[in-house]
Every structure is written in C-alpha cells, then in structure tokens.
Symmetry: D2
Amino acid sequence: MLVVMKHGASASQIEEVVATIKEMGYGARPIPGEQRTAVGLIGNDGAVDSGRLLGLDGVLEVIPVTHPYKQVSREWREADTVVTLANGTRIGGSEIVVMAGPCAVEGEAQILDIAHRLRAMGATVLRGGAFKPRTSPYAFQGLGRAGLEQLAKAREETGLAIVTEALDPEGADLVAEYADIIQIGARNMQNYPLLRRAGKTGKPVLLKRGLAATIDELLLAAEYILAEGNDHVILCERGIRSFDTHTRNLLDLTAIPVVKALSHLPIIADPSHGTGLRAKVIPMGRAAVAAGADGLIVEVHQNPPKAMSDGAQSLLPDQFAELMTQITVIARAIGRGVTPSLVRGRTG
Amino acid sequence: MLVVMKHGASASQIEEVVATIKEMGYGARPIPGEQRTAVGLIGNDGAVDSGRLLGLDGVLEVIPVTHPYKQVSREWREADTVVTLANGTRIGGSEIVVMAGPCAVEGEAQILDIAHRLRAMGATVLRGGAFKPRTSPYAFQGLGRAGLEQLAKAREETGLAIVTEALDPEGADLVAEYADIIQIGARNMQNYPLLRRAGKTGKPVLLKRGLAATIDELLLAAEYILAEGNDHVILCERGIRSFDTHTRNLLDLTAIPVVKALSHLPIIADPSHGTGLRAKVIPMGRAAVAAGADGLIVEVHQNPPKAMSDGAQSLLPDQFAELMTQITVIARAIGRGVTPSLVRGRTG
Amino acid sequence: MLVVMKHGASASQIEEVVATIKEMGYGARPIPGEQRTAVGLIGNDGAVDSGRLLGLDGVLEVIPVTHPYKQVSREWREADTVVTLANGTRIGGSEIVVMAGPCAVEGEAQILDIAHRLRAMGATVLRGGAFKPRTSPYAFQGLGRAGLEQLAKAREETGLAIVTEALDPEGADLVAEYADIIQIGARNMQNYPLLRRAGKTGKPVLLKRGLAATIDELLLAAEYILAEGNDHVILCERGIRSFDTHTRNLLDLTAIPVVKALSHLPIIADPSHGTGLRAKVIPMGRAAVAAGADGLIVEVHQNPPKAMSDGAQSLLPDQFAELMTQITVIARAIGRGVTPSLVRGRTG
Amino acid sequence: MLVVMKHGASASQIEEVVATIKEMGYGARPIPGEQRTAVGLIGNDGAVDSGRLLGLDGVLEVIPVTHPYKQVSREWREADTVVTLANGTRIGGSEIVVMAGPCAVEGEAQILDIAHRLRAMGATVLRGGAFKPRTSPYAFQGLGRAGLEQLAKAREETGLAIVTEALDPEGADLVAEYADIIQIGARNMQNYPLLRRAGKTGKPVLLKRGLAATIDELLLAAEYILAEGNDHVILCERGIRSFDTHTRNLLDLTAIPVVKALSHLPIIADPSHGTGLRAKVIPMGRAAVAAGADGLIVEVHQNPPKAMSDGAQSLLPDQFAELMTQITVIARAIGRGVTPSLVRGRTG
C-alpha cells in the first residue's frame, strides 16, 4: 500500500502518516519524489483498511498495491483448483461442464422429464430453483423443500448432479442435504452470513457475481467461503448492470480470463441471465467457451412460454442440443473438450 | 403491459399472444398500428412476469406500463408516510432528521462520548454498527451483541433513538430487541428473507439502496417489508456504483425527488458512504437537503484516523456542528426545519 | 409511441395530449385501461421528439414503440449488407475479415515491415493511425499526412487495404484520398459534421461505438452516414465504460448478435481497445468470432514495449499468428471461414 | 508513476523496467517490498504513456501517482480562476451566475421575448442553440447563422451575454464572432480539433462533461483549451450515463466539490440535461448550488409543449422565477450570492 502525500505536505504530516502506519502494526518507508513524497506500507497481508490513512492531513491518495484477497489468489495456490462432484463431474479441469435445467422446479413430472432429456444431450449437472429470489414479493417464490425432493429424485433417476440456490443461512444447511452444489445468487454475493454457512457445509458452492460487483469483490466474497476451510468454489459470470436496455444484463466475458489470471478457482458463465434473451444464449454460450470458461449454466425448459419464471431466456430442448454441438467444436478448437455424457444414471 | 409485435407478425402469432395472456388470467386487447400491432394486457396488478410473452414467436418487445409495486406507491397512498420513533422523532414530516454516529460501535466509552456530543449538536438518532458487513473476511466485523448493549446504554443516557444494521434474519430479531430502527444495508437490499423478517418485527426499517439497484428495485424491496404489514419504512440513497474513481460511490441525489413522486415513504441520504470522502460530506449533505431529503445519516467519529472502519469518510465533531448549522439554513430556505434537539435525555 | 397518462388524468388532459399529437402531424388513438389511459401515436417514422408530450400535464411516461432509425434497420433492408473493398475483401459476408496493425504509424520502415508480416499471416486490411485522438494534449498525436502516405505505400507493396482514422470533417476528405476505409473513433461517434462528411465521401466507413453509447445511439450515428447516401458502413464494438478497473473498457460482445438482429450492417469487434490488455486480446478475439462478429480489428506491433502508443494492448506478431489459427477453427465451427490471404500484392 | 512487479519477478525483469523508464527519459527508483518490488518513475510531468511499461514481462500493474493534467490543476494555480464576460458577469467568483434560455433558438420573436423575461428575473447569460447536435439525423438541427444573429440581437436589446454551441472547428470561429461564450457539448468533449480551435479564439469556453467522461478526462479536455493559451474555461456537470431509466442522465453533483479541489477553474451545473425532467430541475438546481456550483445553466421556454426540442425538461418562466428565489436563499446560506440582475441593457 502506498500513501501519496500532497505536493507541499509538511514533514510533520509525513511523520504523522509514518506513526499511524506503525501504530497499525506495519512498517513504513517514505519515498521522496520530485513532485511529492509517498510512504510505502510494508508487511501487510492485503487486508489493510486504508480509511485511517486517507483521512490524515496532507494525504492525497492511498493506493493499494497488493490485492486484499489471499487464499483465492494464484499466488497462494499456483495450480488450477478442480471441483469434483459425487457423480464424477470435474469442474475446472480440461473439460467444459454444462449445467442445465429450468429456472424453477415446477413439479416432479416437469423436472424428471427435462432431466432425462438434458442428460441425453450431454448435460452432467441439473439446475433448478426450489427457493427463488424474486424482485417482486408477489411473484412465484419456488416450491421450497418439495422442490429439493424432486431434484433429488431426478438425480436418482438420471445420475445428474444437482445445483440449486440457497437464500439464507438455514436454507444453506437444507440445500446441502439435497444438492451437490449450493448456489449463491447474484443478489446474495455479499450476504456474508450465507457465504460463511455455505462454506461451513463443506459442499461445493457456485458463487455468482453480483450485478455491480467488481472482480476483486467477487474474489473477496469467495474468500469468505475459503476462510471456512472450503475451497470447493466455482465462480460464475452472469452479467452486470449497464445502461443499454436491449439486454437484461451485460455479460462481461472478459472477466473470465481476468479471473483465471488472478485466481486458481474455476469460473463458468451463465448466458441465460447474462443476456435475458433466448436468441442471444447460443451465441454468448459459444463466446463464453471461446473466452476460456470452465463451463456453462443454461436455462432450458420444455415449454418456455408456460414457464413459471424467466421463460423469455429459456432455451428449447432442440436449441440446447444445438448449443452442445457448437460448443463441442469450439472447445476442441482451443484444446479442450466437453464433459462426456454420463455413461449411466445411478438407477441405470 | 404492452406486447409489441414484430413488423409482419402473422395473425396466428397475434392470436397466440392473446391466448397466452388469457391463460395467464388477464384480459388482452390487440391494438393495430401502421407499422406493427401491439397487444395490451389488461387487469394486472403490476406483478406480471413478462418472460412468457417475450419468448413467443413474433413478439418484438414487452413494455411494462404499470409499475410492479403496489403498497409503496403514491397511487396506493396519497399522503406522505411519517415514521415516528419512541423518542418522538418524526421522519418524513416537515422537519429534517439527522442520524449520526460512528461507523462501528468500538466500545462503551467511545459510543457514550460521541452520543452526548451529537445530541448536544442536534442529532436525534444515533447510528453505529454492531454487526459490520465487510468486503474482506479478515476485516473487523463488529462487537455483536455487546455493541447493541452499548448502543442501548447510550440511548438511556441521551434519549437519542438508535439505528443499527442487521445482517441476517435472526440478527433482525436481535437488533429489534435493542434498536429503534433496523438498518438493512446496501449489500442486503435484495436479501428477501431478511427483508421479510425485518418487516415482521413491526419496527421501523431503514432500507438502503443497493449499489446497482434501480429506483424501481428499491421500491420493490420496500414492498417486501410492507407486504408483511409493516409500513414504517425509511428509504436511503447512499450512492451507486459508477466509473469515476475519485469518489467511492456516486451519490444519486435526483433519486430523492424521483422517489418522493413515486412513493409516500420518507427518503434520507447518506453523504458519508455516498462519497467516501470526509471533505465531500458537508457539501453533499447540504445538497441532499436542498434536493428534498427527509433527513441525513452521517458518520461522525471523535478521532477518525483511529476509527476501526471507514475513518476516511467520518466527520470530526466540529465539522458535524458546521453541517448542522448549514443545513438548518438551507432547510429554512425551502420551507422546512431541522428536528430540534431533544429537550432532555431519559436520564435528564 | 405510447403516451401513458397518470392514474386519474382528467379528460381534458387526455384531449390536450391528443391535440398536441395531431398538431405534431401524427394520428392519436386513446386506449383506456383499468388503471390508466394510454394514447397511441400513429403514423410516425421513428423520429418523433417525445419532449413535447412528456412535459404535458397528466402524462406519466412516453414509451417509444418504433425505433428511431430507419435505413440502418433490418426492416428497411432484409439482406445483410456486404461492404467490398478495392482489394476484393468483403466485410459482412460468410467470411471473417481481420484488420491488423500498429496503433499509430510510426515511420515508413515500421509500417512496411509489419504490413508484410501481417499479410503473410492472413490479415487483409492494415490499420494504423496517422491522426491520433489522445486524452492528453501532451501525448504523441500522430504523423499526419506523412503517415497517410506511408500507409498508401504499404498498400502498394502488399495489397492490403487501409483503414485509418479521421478526426474532423477536412480530415475525412484527406483520409478518403488515401484510405480504403475511413475510421470514426469512439470519441467521435456523435460528431455529426464528421459523420456527414465521411458519408459524403462515398468511401466505406468504420464506425466505432462510443464508450457510453447505447446500441440504438450507435445505429442512429450510422444513420447519419446512410442519410448521405452511403451505406458502406461497418460497425465496431470496442468496449464501453464500466466500473471494474481490471480492464480498460468492458467489451460488450452481446452487442454483436443484438446489432445483427436489428440491422443489416456488418459489425466487427476490437478486442485490443475492448480490453486494453495484451493477454486478454486472444481469448476475447476468439469469443467475438464465436459470438458472430464479421471481423476483428487488432493492434499488432513488432516491439510493443517501444510502441509510441497503446503498447500494453498490442499483440506480438507471433501472438497474432496464434490468434489467426484459433479463430480459423472457431469460424469453421459456426459455419464461417476467415478471408483467405490475398493471393498476391499489387507488386507481386 | 509506480510500476508494480509481480511476486517473484526476476532481477532481469526489474532491470528491463528500469532500462525502459530511462530510455523514456525519466528516472527510475526500485523499491523492494516484502511481497513484491515496485519501481518508481521519477521526473515526469504527468503525461507518461504507461503502455510501454504495462506490457513488459514481470509487470503486474502500473499505477499513476501524479495526475496527467497540468495547467488546469490547483497545483499549477492556487487561486480560483474567474472568467469575466463583456457584460461584466463574473463566473467563478463569490456570486452564482445563472444562464438560461430555450434549448434552441426558434425565431427572433421567441428569443427576444424570453430574453427580456429572463433578464427581468435575474439571468445574466442567455443560452440558446443555433447548431443542435441531435441523436437522429431527421430531427430539427437548428437555425444556423440566422440563430446566431437573433441571439446577438437579443444581447443588444437586453445586455445579456450569449452562450451557444459550436459543433466543429469552423463553427467555433463563427460562434466566436457572435457569442460571449462558446459552448462545447457533452458529445464533443473529446473532439480535440474543436477544443483546440475554440481555445485559439481566446473567447470564454463552456465545456460540458461527456456522458461517460471521468473527472480526469474532463480536466484533460480542458487542458487542450488551456494549452492554446486560453484559460477562460468554465466546466459544466450535466449528467452522466447510468442504469436507471427514471431520469435521462444521472446528475453527478459530487463532481462539483471534487473538481473545485483539483482545479482552479469554475464549474457550473445543468440540471435540465442532468435530469431530463422539468419537475426535477428546481430541486436539483437548488442542490447544485448547495453543493458549491459557481452557476447554473437552465432551459426555459415560454411554451414547453411547443418547443422544437427538449420541451420535457424546459422550465416555464414562472418556475424559473421560483428557482431564482430559492437559490438566492441557498446561496446566502453558504456565504455566496446570486449575480444581481444587470442594471441596464446596452440599449437601456
């Protein structure tokens, strides 16, 4: 961390900065320059609160030099983390993993039907919300525990792993009983009690980037999970807020290579929420794989116009098949593959 | 809601839209135009999920005409809501209310000292975090229940009302035992289980706008609280995310007159988080009052360079006194006043 | 265009809206609803100024239904526009076109050397700035006319077409004398005198999206060129402004399929400016092709650390060769190709 | 400027950075740290291109320490710049200056009528566009030179100074013949040939912040004008692009105290374009003055529903009078005044 003094800062102001840094428990090294002096803060682990320094007289700026996260960083662990699920699917390795399913679990028949179809087309993880965070309190909020049971039944029949969202700390425990991956949604990316509890379950966690979250904030949110001793974390780019109204969100695919350079954690993309428009899901799913994503999570529904939520962005099963075909070729073009279909379900 | 068909949409595509609207339980009225046909959706209460319609063949766009919130809107209740606290402070009336205090409760001596000073300078509500949502898991996370007890003691001694943040549903119950106002922070604006639980306590709730939240989303988050039968909600503009790095956030003061036109709920501003810089708190606090805010929430610390969090944006007590003087004149200029200092504390 | 009245708008307010619409020369059709009345504006060509209506008493909102652009739209022309250059390169057809070169022309030896290398690796258009728009008035501003002459010499030797930027109307005439494509940079996307003059030259124009431009504004800027009778327009997504500081801009690849649906014009991507980081250019170049871009424009420099501008985002020649190899496979995966290398230069 | 090396950067990589800095003509000072080494760049005047350094092996980040602008900075000139107009109005002194008028000059009768009314209500500068930059090529583009002549006539009759926009370099010369202040609009903030030409005229220039311009970019654009020897520059905050659709732009009032700290130039606010909504102009005009703006520029029209552009954001004359009354009280509250009405027009 570098404390830049104003042009003309007095010697006593510089001394006050040095003293404050020492009081905070770090070393201080003044660096005189032609226009102004800077003071380096030495010995920090990345979590220094710059506030105390920024408010001192004569201070122009405080510039962080080290990143504030630790266990999620490439410097902490050089090799890629690979998250392995109960059904053998490996996320973060050389193969692209595809998670697919409806926005919400709407009933047993629906989820079983789509699960069988998706497995046949090459998905290895089934998505579907049992607890839905909805912008309006009057919108459909999910089937709750019944939805979790239906997902578990779909897993039993197809061998697909299950990813589903938890909305609060108790929900994380409940979801952990049923699911292979606990999803933390974009709205909850900085819901720290939820992150901690999900971390404590020891289960893989899919952490979606918040709509206004910087990449550093996404990594710091993941750090909350790792700080609980759980490094089975999969990051997910799902679109950020921007000013154009043609799409629901702005899918920031550059975040993928940026995260891969900063962190050892796998990162996937959600082109369904990332665009909000069915017709854009296939091109952006392709683009995400081309950009280096470790997987995709995609909404697919048997009959999107009758979906209870997010119908406009759900692919039809035939479109999903087309997406699988195209990303398989693209994955090969960049030296990767797509996870082969599960050989057999558990009941197979 | 208006479903706009593509130029050249077929009659059967239009019929499909009409049929889908009817199946959703609403009325449908086709409106032929010169370039294209639109279909009006009639009889909705504002909470229609446009997804099913947006995905139909021949549909170009779905345009919401009514707003999706209900109880928070001016159309639901014409008159301003005034939230009255136990110490008699009224928020949303003709007088500006000032909430002030340190970012975090750091100990009994600290909070009692600042509370007495603030009361003497005209604050009527004391702020201070006992549970702190911190971007890094390694930063100071607050004193917890001990902090709540210290706040309660400060209330007892000074008569100031207490506002402090809850981070999860159980926390909301705990905070409700001690505080006069439960604060929901920006990161939790769409933490629906927390919103619901805070609503159920029946206590006044201070709801801060999320960093990427539209004004409609802020109002819908408030709707979650009102839907629990609790209309003691105070909204708070505290800065949104933007691209300039000179300030921590971008304080969107225009949101104040926009919210006042759409909703009957009171709205205050937080120039401390809204700018992140001590030197900008006074001008932006003044500007918020001039823009029509019903109050301010401001960080003040006896010794900002030693604050355990957010020191850089905390005012010194003398600066707070200057702010109070200036906003008193500005409030008068627009026909309002500033809540008079409490005549005496409970122990007085 | 739909004028939505407030709940409780009076009959005379509705009549005033109808009268104003008629005075503006359009038809008006009131549409009574359960909550409120709307008035449809009929017979417009997309360029109605909503201001007059938005300011009338009783008006809640004015919602545009038709888009404000005309000649650039798919409804105006169904088939893809293909822009053909003098050297036979076709932009907007089934093949991906790659434009490459240094940020700025730095001298004859430099530009000739890189042009020969790029042609050998498969580029068909040479980029290089002779007039550079620089954020600081003290930065290198380009070689001017000498740079144009050096570009022309490179074309003569290699057969590559030339694209270079014009900064003002006279500059457009000058650039048109030398270049095959006149580039309008992001900062000038709404420089209307420049757009008009570039349109009048009849030359192909490469129009880059502004940092804060919506997709509709990009299309309207193109409309200025088409309105001069010049439909040889190539759009370019080059990153928009956002809040994350890891990349220089945020490359909005979803804009590519969005533009392809709205307009018949070709659109390419600039992953160099779009990311600002050399290491991200290859993954994002691949992603752009996967998303459906008609081409790429990429900065390549013999010795990026010595480049006079934008060195940090310039590829090395070897990296460019790698990019060409990878996008060739990806193009094939989605049924497209990459423009084959020019069979021979003019001097061949 | 500080070049931060990666953890584990080799000695030869550090030497390469040092050598490159020296080759660029600056001094280099390595600063070893516990986690990584940084290299300080010394002796720069603020305009260093970081690109060459950012692309070197082993470099993690390049952090600018000094700002890239020079003559516009407070460090260059400590005292506030006051721009004095021909009619004696001083901008940047202790008094708030109000510029007002229609969006566009629509004819002699209109502009003379409104000019007389505005002068009577306390405006000292008349605004009105003769050349209008319109998003659509089919919208009204202004009266051109005839509009300038009508503005000049209004000045002659009322003594008001004139501010009007120039769109291109020749336009700047033409506007300079007629107007007291040449306005550079938001779309042209980085139109460098226009900035230079406006600078060369020696006339006062009103420079509006671009929709996606950082505060540093605004100051650098102003630097282009000062670099021509013209320091009569007035900056203007007029709203930036953001994601909420309730307002046309997001008025960033915090930019005002930020600019006042960084630069000696005066800054005013445009609450008309900044909000796009008539009902928000008065509260935000008040807020701008409370935040420390040196003036306002406001759209006022005799009959906004019949305005040829921007009717929705134009105040009625009575509303303008109310605004003047309110800001006069607020100016006094912060120790300033509002420029007194001109004692007499030139023809008086």
